[in-house]
Every structure is written in C-alpha cells, then in structure tokens.
Symmetry: C2
Subunit: 341 residues, 2 copies
C-alpha cells in the first residue's frame, strides 16, 4: 500500500485529483499485494433463502416470490441479470434455503441448508450446525471462484422478508436500538414500520443472541442466504480477493463475517449507500464509506454490479496511467507536493 | 416519458427500488423518444485549449502541460485514456487552441480557433467571431458523432488555467459572487485562492460580459475548449442524444449552451459532483443532480466516463428487465402501488 501511494503521486494528474478512486486503488493494492492491481474477472454470488418471520406480516410480497425471482435471475430478466450482462459480471445463483421447490437448472447451485428459516419471533432461525454449514458452503464457493481468476467478488441476495433478520443482526452486533436498524423494506406505511420494529425487538428478546459470538447471532436471528454470504466474504478475504458488498443484507452478512474474523474488514468495499435505514448503522460500525449513493434499495447484488466499473477504473488508473517521467509531462514544483492531504 | 414511467412500474422489482436509475431511464426515454432506450456507443470529446490568464499566476502547472497532456491522451497514458479503454468509450481529442505547437497525429483533430485566449484580466478572451466558430465546430463534431450511432456523448477538457474562465462564466451567468464560483483548481494555499478570486473579479470588471448574451460571455471571459464543448452540447441535444457532462469546466460550457438554447437542459446528465467549489453553483442553476460523488477534480472527461456505466445500466434495466407478467412473478396488491413516491 505504501508503494501504491508513492506510485499514485507520480501519475500524470494533480495529486489527489482522482478523489475516492485513489484510496480504492491503494486498498486494492493491499488486497492483491501489488502496486499495480489487476481486478481480473468479476462475479456476484446471489444467495437466495426464505424466512419464517414472514408469518408475522413484515413484507408486502408473498413468500413464493423468492422462488419466482430465482427463476427470473436464471432467465436473465431481473435487474441484476440485466446489469451483469451489460458489464460482463458473472452471476452465481445459489439456493441456500428457498421454501418453494425449484426445478433443477444448469445455472442454479443448490446448497440446501434448509427450507426457510424458523420464525425468529418464536425461536431460532436455524441450528448452530446449520449456521456453520452456511459459512462453510459460502467459503467453499468463494475459494472456487477465486481459483477462476476472479478478483472482484460481489454479494447479492434474494429472500422475501430478509430485511427483518438483517435489522435484528445489525441491532445485536452494533448495540443500536431496533428503531435505528429497521427500515421500511418493501413496506410503506408508518404502521407497517412500527410493526416491523416490534417484530425485530421480539426476535432479540426471545432468542437473546450473544453479540460476542457471531455464529450464535447468525443461528438465532439470521438467514440462510445471510450466512452463505458471510462465508463468501470470509473465503474471498482469505484468498486475497476484494469483496464488493451490495447493500443492507450484505452489510448484515459482513457484520457476521467480521464478528468471526475482524481482519476480513480490510477486504471489504461498500458498493453503495442503501436507503434502507439500518444500512448507515452498519457502514459506520464497519468503517466503510460507500462508492455510490443512488437511492437504491433493491438488493440482488445490483449495487455491487454498478460499483464494479468504478472499482475497476480505480485499479486501472493506478496500474496503467503514465508517470510524469514516462509521459514527459512537467510536474509542478516538488515542495508543494508535501502539502497533499 | 409517460410510457417509460408506466413500464418502470411493471418491472420485476419493488417500485422505486432502483432509485436514481429510474429517473435517469425516464430521461433517456424522453431524449431518444422510446420507452425502451438504447444508449448505443459511447464517446467523450476532450477539447484542449490554452488560456492567457495564466500570466496572472493562477495555476500551479506551466502552460506547456496542456500540450504535453494532449500527447499523453494520444499515447493512452492519461486517466481518461485508461478509463475509456476499460469501458469501451471512444475518445475524440480536439486541439481548439493549444499554445504549444503539436505535431500532427492520426488521433488528433485540429480545430485551431486560436493559439491561447487573451488574458481576460486585460481584455476579452477572444473575438465574437471566434466564439461563434467554437460553437459551430463543436456542433459539427457532435452531429458527426451522432451519425455514428453514439447515444451517450461525454464532454472532457484539458487546459492549464481553465478553472479561472469557468469561474468567471459561472459568476456572470448565475449572478453568484466570484467567491462562491472560484475554487482552488490545482492551487493549494488560501493566498492562491484569494488571488484567483481577485483575478476572476477583475476579468468581470474589465470585460463586463452580458449574462443575457451567452455568446458575449464566452467571447469575453471564456475559453476555446469551453466554447467547443458548448457547441458539442448544443449539437448533441439537437440530434436527440444524451450529453454526459464531466465536472466544473463542462458545467461552464453547459451554462453557455443553455444560455443560448434553454431547451438543451433536458438532454444533460451531470456525471459527478466535483470538489471544485463553483460546481455546486452551476449544478443548482442548471437543476442537475450528479450521478456520482467521488471527490474528483481532474477533468479530462474522467467523471463522464465513470458515470456512463451507471447511465447505461439505467437504460438497460428499463429496456430489458422482465415485467411481472412476463416473468410470472407475483406483484403485490395493486392499491399499494398508488402510494409510490
């Protein structure tokens, strides 16, 4: 990273003029261990799972939509499918616990840890063994992807109701009250939001997850797709690749991952700031500043796909721009460089 | 645009969940005249010119850097060259008035309206005939590009000292005092900034440009590359293509273009919010909300290139996503859709 900073100062531009891209490029240099970072291929793992808490009426769409949207991903009609196709991002669609049975499909990876989690207002989402299996399967997937030469690994999610367990995870892991970690999701009225906050509070009271034990938090108030993504984050970081987090659900997965292994933090890039309320609490806790702020609240990995172009550009500028000396461009007097912010 | 809004509501996602992308897609539908907008090819015109006002010591780099950077663009070593190569954006490099003679190069278009403008603290930047020629040459270039199937046309600039005339244009066209339209450019100390503000104020006092006559403003306190870009904006809008503005210099060009033809406004997309102080004044006057906010202050068209991926994704989602009916995905009850923001 020190070598990357030195190289940044020699590139043909006023120092600091590429703003956030310069910090991103230095982070990528650290992740890949070279001052000329190559991002390689790009892939987003979209994990799908269902949530027993939908029985509490926390969402506007029926549970069958999770499976329907998985089919939509496979057929290329969803937002993340369209975006990924346009920018050359590969998608891995993973069923980790969708309630509605899905026909086998060459593009669908089935890692059936369960069929919908339990209703977290009456008991745990899953067993501790299931939580561990989510992590292991996610990490295994990530290592596979890393071996294929993928340098940017995005996280995507699909799961009707999954903002509710994410809000519970965020409240438990950060200590913030459920009012600050719970947003509207696909709901709309103040009454719906108030009900959802009460559901999150009840889930925490009933299960009493231990914030010092992230596996306990995942098992008690998490979700299968959230656990798989936490595993993807850990596996990707262990392989020295960059993790491009999507929005709120990905942030909950990152809290679990960093709870288990704080060093994973340095491998994370927050793609965007979701309008989902609890996302800012998560970003602050993780110390991440999002690349984009586009008012997105879709999930699926759409923010991750959108940010990858900017992240690639950051790496490419550091790796491929000419230095003042190489291009024969006159630099300004050296002493003024010291005042660089 | 009305048809585009209707189609947006039928796509397989919660209404509004793609945030800014939805508004962008509707704007593109209006520009291209279809609810399935295709952005086509992407090109950035990088206009280069020199500025007599550098004699007043307003910049950290010597004037020769303008020509050196043009060579750097042609050799592919500049930031905009690297970014454009990675995302398939074509570059048109145009010499509109570089002071240092440049050798001919197959990638360089020479539209020699002059060789550096005059020092605007002692007289006009150029004659009214030269200002008109900048606009005509820019519009002609834009029409050529439009005929090649380019749907996204970015503006880029290179010109040591060009934040000073841009600040003067912004102050004149918006009525804001020079303190609010003048930023640090490549300078660094408070003293340098204070001097630059005084230079902008003197340029306005000496030349007394008429804000109701944008051609007068361009001639008296503008720049050759700023005028060419204003012409590119007008030509692109007239051809019903989208203009992707880079940062502060592009904003000054847009003020000139919209001063001449207010209808051009609807064809503009602000790629990013520059840290250069006067940019926010320009964006507010034009009523534009930038797509990206990455702390950039480089120019060259780098912000425009970076935003094009997001803009393309916005169009692609509107054009290619499946509707609820097509994908067999259950929509939520219809009455709740009415509350859509």
């Amino acid at each position: 990273m020190a070598r990357a900073r030195t190289r940044q100062r020699q590139l043909t531009k006023p120092p600091g003029s590429l703003g956030r891209l310069e910090a991103l490029s230095v982070q990528l240099a650290g992740i890949y261990g070279t001052e000329r970072p190559q991002t390689g291929d790009k892939r987003v793992t979209v994990a799908a799972g269902d949530h027993g808490v939908v029985a509490q009426g926390v969402t506007a769409y029926p549970q069958t939509v999770t499976a329907q949207m998985v089919l939509n991903f496979l057929q290329g009609g969803a937002a993340v499918s369209v975006m990924a196709r346009h920018v050359g991002v590969g998608l891995s669609i993973v069923d980790v616990g969708v309630a509605t049975p899905l026909s086998s499909h060459p593009g669908l990876r089935v890692v059936a840890v369960g069929r919908s989690t339990g209703d977290i207002t009456v008991g745990p989402a899953m067993t501790r063994a299931q939580a561990q299996r989510c992590l292991e399967e996610g990490a295994a997937l990530a290592l596979e992807v890393a071996q294929e030469g993928t340098g940017l690994v995005g996280t995507g999610d699909m799961g009707i109701g999954n903002t509710t367990p994410s809000s519970a995870i965020a409240a438990c892991m950060t200590g913030a009250p459920p009012e600050r970690t719970t947003g509207r999701g696909t709901g709309r009225t103040p009454e719906e939001l108030g009900h959802k906050i009460a559901v999150v509070r009840r889930a925490l009271e009933v299960n009493r997850p231990d914030p010092a034990d992230a596996l306990d938090v995942l098992a008690k108030v998490g979700g299968f797709e959230i656990g798989l993504l936490a595993g993807v984050i850990l596996g990707t970081a262990s392989a020295r690749r960059a993790v491009v987090l999507d929005g709120f659900i990905a942030g909950a997965a990152a809290l679990i991952a960093c709870g288990l292994c704080p060093q994973a933090r340095g491998y994370l890039i927050a793609s965007h700031r979701s309008v989902e309320r609890g996302h800012r609490v998560i970003l602050r806790r993780l110390g991440l500043r999002p690349v984009l702020d586009l008012g997105l609240r879709l999930g699926e990995g759409t923010g991750a796909v959108l940010a990858m172009g900017v992240i690639e550009a950051a790496a490419a500028c550091l790796s491929e721009m000419a230095t003042f000396a190489e291009a024969g461009v006159t630099d300004r007097p050296a002493q003024s460089q010291e005042a660089r912010p």
